[in-house]
Amino acid sequence: MTVIHRRRLARLVATAFVLVFAAAFAYPALLTLITSLKSENAVIDTPLALPTHVTLTAYATTWRVLNFGNLLENSLFYATAGAAIGFVIAVYPAYAFSRFRFVGARAIFILLLTTLMLPQQTALIPLYHALTWLGLLNTRLGLVIIHGAWGMPLQLLVLTGFLTNQPREVEEAARVDGATDLQVLRHIVLPLAAPAMVVGFLLNFIGIWKEFIFAVTFLNSDSLYPLTIGILKFTANQYFASFTLPAAAVVISQLPLIALFLLASRWLVSGIYTGAFK
């Protein structure tokens, strides 16, 4: 009995310890949420305390000053279109690499994957000048194409990893019955790969939503900026007198991502794992 009691006590103590650590870890995010709900004066008086009067003024001001609807629309467009382009390019190679043997398959696959590893900075200058030359600098299209090309390998990795582990009996039967590559891909492989496609797409989507260096290099006008550039306005001196505005900007710009993670965290974590290992 005492052994069990002691073990339970040890477990409680350990849990409490980790809980305190986790709370401290999450505190900056919580503090930001708290700050965004207070009035400016309340923040100055008691920066760490919970709000006595909850107010949404900061959100209204943020929305108006940053033209937030426009930023949101831009981010949504870049992330959706970029991930869609990446997806379209990635489907066929994933099929090729998981179902066909050919000379140099592994070398080509590895080459494509290097995109994930290399710093964007190593390609930034030529991409900038290529976009200038094509007249696509500071356009939605230019940014989205680059997001698609650089996002494709992640989707390729997730999809190929998934397909390689899938059984092939049905496909082989279909082939014996005379199905073409396209028919096999459309009617057998893709429907089964739906979960992996969603995970790959979402990871790419989230990556573009968070992306900054391409956007800040290739865009140069307020109307085209995504959230990552737009919210930085609140670090500029003219607004730095305020703490509630940056807090509100952080909260509303990250809310869609956090919601997405809460909805699909198990899938996405498995995708991160695939992306890292496979």
């Binding site: 980790v18 870890f25 592994r106 290097t114 900075q121 930034l124 900054f212 290992f277």
Partner: protein, 322 residues
Amino acid sequence: MQVGLSREPVLHAAEEGDRRRPLWKQLEEIRRHRLVFGFGIVLPLAVYLVFVGYPISYTFYLSFQQWNGFSNVVKFVGLANYRHLINDSNFWLSFSNTVKWIIGTLFFTDVLAFILAVVLRSKSIYFGAVLRAFFFLPVTMSLIAIGLMFSFILTPAFGGVGLIAQALGFPRGPDLLGQPATALYTLIGVFGWSYLGIPLVLFDAGLTQIPEELNEAARLEGATPLQQLRFVTLPMLRPTFVVVTVLAVLEAIRTFDLVYAMTGGGPGHSSDTLGYYMWIQSFDERHFGYGAAISTVMLLLSSLFAMVYVRRAGRAALEGGG
């Protein structure tokens, strides 16, 4: 790829076996699977070459040129950019800051995340899964938002840090981002905070794959929990450590967002990193040749680590299994 020249089968559905075929048969294969060949191999390779391969090669080429980006005058200057690099104290500062950034990040990923993963997975904790979500939260946020968040929290005017410092007995709080001595380390800490969730889930997945019998056997042999950690868990997690380390190092080398959002490399140049200094030199100062030379250094650094990872990743995805 040596289409047609090789005596290996060029392209055929995997189930058809691995027999060698004559040349006309190989071309026949390509024709029969032309959609797969075109969209599955040629297209992604073309995309890669246009958007990644060529730009990177061109960066290398530019590193031997002098160019302000406006004019058409691109002047070959040989190794001048690299000579400038060697004599540029700000470059070396960025370089050593990047090395510090790597080492600091590895503390978060290979030490802290590992310990947390073990503790959260162990039977000596309640609600391990829920607590893990706490540590994963920052991964869902953009580094820019995280940077904005910490820069207002850490500003002395906000008062939060000051209150905590007073509670701990100091007269007033430090200006962590405003002092050259602390700015870089503060950034590294914030980066570690933001990134911790990734190694945590990787270690967690690795831990669940260790067969329970191994720990069981070790326990029966009289191993203490610490000995189990040392002689069962650590060796079994070796591949995870490799992946976690390489990913973290690559992420640290390309560091840009946080520096941009929080300090702009300052005060002075004290928090410049290679990834940021390159950008400023290229797109602020318009020294594209010099920026390209810094990029080339980043490329070399990253390639060293990327090779380890990419080979492992490619093998695992193509051959299936864990």
